[in-house]
Symmetry: C2
Subunit: 209 residues, 2 copies
């Protein structure tokens, strides 16, 4: 077990382990060896054992891993058992889809507020949440202390609102904009969802590789 810093490569693999184990559990299986899991996931057994042993010895020699136990352990490591409150900014096509489409509760979050600057949207209700005017952001945050902001707004809007959000105590961003938050706020946690970058990577691979 490694109590030091866990590498990004390992962290990024955890959600996938979590998903696969959830499926195996749902399929009614109870145990699995690192070798069998490696074949199902397209990894090496060695890597799986290394990854898991960053967090503890969840297996048993001669037996393998208990699927249900390992699934919930990884869930806890990911912090899925401790919901963090989030607000979403920008209720365009994308913001609306994110609000409707994502199951926040099963991913460690709780969506508590929706904001937009377009007066015509204010008051509309999505997933039981009213869209609020962005001018009420300060008040809302002081009362509800959200930890995370989801930015479904263009780069310019993200640039102009991020200072305010950090000042209001936002500790993490789920960032769909192209504004590079981690350059300006190195201590805030940022996860980028860059659709365009992903598409361009696909474009590259279609021509080369």
């Amino acid at each position: 077990m490694n109590n030091g810093m866990i590498s990004t490569s390992v962290i990024k693999r955890l959600p996938r382990y979590y998903r696969f184990l959830g499926e195996l559990k749902a399929a009614g299986l109870t145990r699995i060896s690192s070798r069998e899991l490696s074949e199902r996931m397209g990894l090496t057994a060695s890597q799986i054992r290394q990854d898991l042993n960053c967090f503890g010895g969840f297996g048993q020699q001669g037996y393998g891993y208990n699927i249900s136990l390992l699934h919930s352990e990884i869930g806890n490591i990911l912090g899925l058992d401790r919901p963090k409150s989030a607000i979403l900014i920008g209720i365009g096509n994308l913001g609306r889809a994110v609000t409707m489409h994502i199951n926040f509760e099963t991913k460690g979050f709780h969506l508590i507020g929706l904001f937009d600057n377009k007066e015509s949207l204010v008051g509309q209700v999505i997933k039981n949440l009213p869209i609020r005017n962005i001018s009420t952001l300060d008040e809302f945050c002081r009362e509800n202390l959200p930890e995370v902001a989801i930015l479904c707004i263009p780069k310019q809007a993200a640039m102009s609102i991020s200072d305010q959000l950090v000042r209001l105590g936002i500790k993490g961003f789920w960032n769909f904009s192209h504004y590079d938050l981690s350059l300006k706020y190195p201590d805030v946690k940022v996860e980028n969802m860059h659709f365009g970058d992903s598409l361009m990577t696909l474009s590259y691979r279609l021509h080369h590789d």
Copy 2:
């Protein structure tokens, strides 16, 4: 210049170089050194020079890089100048947002067809494209030969339609589902957009790090 295989790490950085250079160009700058670019992007100058030299010597000793030239060179490397036709499957909240929100043309793609299995959606028009019944997929593909499929459908639906798509000549997937396409189709190019994995990674970082 390296004519062999380019590593994934390098490829994944190209779209970000492309974006930054586009912004510098739009700001009216004409030249930049690897050192200055490294400071703006939060990388090392060494890494930038290594990355670029995988593809060719785009700089000039004592001068640096011509921003406009480098920008368009990277665009060409990414294949943005050669549009690939794409179809999108699943016009739910997410599919609709992707259709509306993404500028495919500037990312090397051309969206030519929308499909859903829900009769009530068929015929509706988004971005000048009619939503087609999924039952007409074969016919459409034989006539229009799309290279890429964008999957905005649940895992089960993705599992049941991917064989058909590969048989119809699809060479790449932009995959929003949780179905692991690259396990079954190792030769097809797959770019995953896994919202849930990204959120869980953010959850981890908010608790640890």
